[in-house]
Symmetry: C3
Subunit: 136 residues, 3 copies
């Protein structure tokens, strides 16, 4: 069994934003010398999530709009007394920081329309996304 | 270490629907010759999610009703200009396509009330669910 | 490859509640003799979820408030005719029972603000959280 770790560093530009990272993750898988296994894409942050969906410009805007509608900033949250970003923590907690994608034949198993994204919920910030490839 | 891949093919019948796949996943685990490890249940689609919960007819209807209430179709989404299914992408992005279930003693670790479902969000369609068993 | 299973037992005290389990999970990882791999934290229940976020008292109250707002009890759910907890199943289905955290250098990879929680949705109850460490 082999385990390979790498990380993706990125600087987000907006408060809420989807940043595609499929190519970087695929490159780490390709360089891992692992043929079959899994890839863990993991954000080491509490106001960032990892999602898999289609990279279409309108849809990316829809996802941000939906997050803003469902998790509006400044709704009297307790955490806002300490740090004005409870909305970002709530969305991060429910969507989650961890995504597992199968690795088969030395490549990520992704459907035709599937791309991997970092979902920034409290940017702009510097973010680190850990990528772990485990297999044989 | 061993890695076994298989897939479940299914044809959904409604736009939004829960289809239980526990038996098929359990059968793949049983046939994998893997005693201890993990099972990844992964939908290679952007308008399908994988969920684990109770298979009770009323609850399945409640889950579909809740999805329809929280992700109503045709709310002025940008993606609807391209393909009239932004609601399905949004629910799929937030709930997610990937579920990991422990494998112990050659069987899935599932609680008494836990069943595995494909959550169809934009059917009826033909769907492929990848099942990967990794372990020893 | 090694696979180690253990479990965390806890008794929740409220209907909806976040119970931090980071130390227990970290202790299982430390005792596993696994250097690099993954840790699966898995609730074998349909009205419990596993989340990773910040352990700040106000934020924990915000998360519970948000769950209660988004999944209000007694909204005419079908499942309430059988068992008066459809709200708990709905939140559990959408947030999910399974969380994967990388293990590197014999420790969980957690960001500065990341803690692991059991999210009780239908307590008070006795709960079992399975912890699986897989790696080398």
């Amino acid at each position: 069994m082999k385990v390979v770790f790498d990380e993706i560093r990125l600087n987000t530009e907006k408060r809420k934003e989807l940043v595609e990272i499929t190519k970087q993750v695929a490159g780490i898988v390709a360089g891992s010398n692992i043929t079959n296994g899994i890839c863990v894409v993991y954000a080491t942050h509490t106001t960032t999530a990892v999602v898999v969906n289609e990279n279409e410009q309108g849809l990316k805007e829809d996802i941000v709009r939906k997050i803003e509608e469902d998790f509006p900033r400044g709704s009297g949250w307790q955490h806002d007394k300490i740090d004005d970003n409870a909305d970002a923590h709530l969305a991060g907690a429910f969507i989650g920081p961890s995504m597992i994608i199968p690795v088969k034949g030395s490549a990520l198993v992704l459907g035709t329309w599937q791309s991997i994204f970092t979902l920034e919920l409290d940017g702009p910030r510097s973010r680190r996304i850990l990528v772990e490839v485990l297999g044989e």
